[in-house]
Symmetry: C2
Subunit: 328 residues, 2 copies
Amino acid sequence: MPSIKAAIIGFGTVGKGVYKIVDEKREQIKKQTGYTVDIVAVLVRDITKTRNIFPGTVLTDNIDDILNNPEITVIFEAIVDEEPAYTYLSQAIEKGIHIITANKKMFAKHGPALLKHAEFRNIQVGYEATTAGGVPIIRTIGNLLSGDRVKRIQGILNGTSNFILTDMRTEGVPFKTALEDAQKLGFAEADPTDDVSGTDAFCKLMILSSLAFGSQPEWEKVSVVGIDHIQTDDVVEASNAGYRYRHVADIRQNDDGSLTAKVGPVLLEANHPLYSIDGVDNAVIVETEYLGALTLIGPGAGMYPTGSAMVADLLHIIRQQVTELIPN
Amino acid sequence: MPSIKAAIIGFGTVGKGVYKIVDEKREQIKKQTGYTVDIVAVLVRDITKTRNIFPGTVLTDNIDDILNNPEITVIFEAIVDEEPAYTYLSQAIEKGIHIITANKKMFAKHGPALLKHAEFRNIQVGYEATTAGGVPIIRTIGNLLSGDRVKRIQGILNGTSNFILTDMRTEGVPFKTALEDAQKLGFAEADPTDDVSGTDAFCKLMILSSLAFGSQPEWEKVSVVGIDHIQTDDVVEASNAGYRYRHVADIRQNDDGSLTAKVGPVLLEANHPLYSIDGVDNAVIVETEYLGALTLIGPGAGMYPTGSAMVADLLHIIRQQVTELIPN
């Protein structure tokens, strides 16, 4: 049975999720593609820490152990920061390794360059997991672009913010308590700055912009406001009046082709499609020329949704490019 | 510029929509695929009726004019009934013609056989437009099956029924008046029996069942109830008590692999994801092992949503199989 050898870069929640799903889905992947997938290496920062991995997987803190292993043809990248992720993935493309990333901060900025580089080298790039967790918005917009045109995208793209706003409304707790609740439940990072400041939602919106419109607005011209200054009194009062605060990322293409985007809390009426999206769910409304509005709602984060989006990217790559995944 | 020659079978709302979109999107399709698409023939019942078509399109009432034209490599089928659609498409597959259908009644029953036949002949079958109009549920479930497993599908699959229930609730009108409203607005067929009896939603559910579970439950064991016996008093009373009637198609896979399905009106609480879906929208909730629940909402019917789903199927086929679309 031919085997595809892959590596994981970054072994936090998402990296571990990919590792687990590839293991659990071994038989199903084999049946669907005719290949087995083996994670032969994992890049970690601290190699001395005990990890729950199989004997066949090599732990390393040196990226060259992965990039210079000619067996490895796919890399799952699940680091949080821009660097060293971008450098590693650029090197991977140079080496002919297909890449699958969940790194929104890196991809918002460097995605367009990586995609061009990858196209030139005939390398596949999967980035479904960068945006809206388990909601397959990247593939859906990609498909919509066949024979249709996107006019506007609006969405709740940060599950942590949405959880906090929901918690403030339903429990009447202050922002700080709601954030602590989110952290206790594993919905927020130890450092939640990017989530609550709107930066995370902004990055995802830029990724969607590149995909849907072929370009991004100038970053400094986009107003980005977080939820960290919202008062519980305001949230509860709005709720009693029939409105809800939602943190919405919004981009539209104007008639002259230019793009207008903004990210921040907005008050929504009960008949707005994003009014009822509670908790850590994400939701994206795509308005197109022919279809009208299409709404996708699903889990915005979590080990399994994000991990399975990355594994789905892998299966897509296998189907597209199977001959090049097995080195001679 | 190489050109792909296609035919349309059935020139009602959907057939006309495909014709219009292929014309309007000529340049975009060319840019995206490198091919132009020309509708060279349209099969109609009454050839004497005046039609709004271009000089390059031949009108015919004889299917053999299409099947025996070696230039034609794709057929869009937009007939309503099972026959002659199934016979025509079987013959098309035999002739090596790729097929794209919007015919749910035919595809619920004969889809599995057509797909096997097509696979054997290496022919592509597009059927996104059979189910939930412009909501890309076929492709989304197809993608989810990479590395995940569907456990349950629940949906509002008939836009006409949903429009009527919405109208009864918000306007307080009886069923008959709501149906007339739907017909006036172009949301219901002249013969709305399949819509209001639940048959249409049942057919769509069976198509989803084949895709998601690889099989269908025995048809006679599925309870199928329409909305034609619902009283406005009940709808309004439920609404005042905080509930809504929705016509829901529901199928789940049991632990032993068997399938349980039912189609009919149900009372939903305000926190149910289908509670807020009003008017002619369709909505589908797909529950999977890894992802949790994914919800898709969009226009359930109409010339443009359905037509653009069929054109998107064509572009997908072009990408998959481009070499075989141009005869030698």
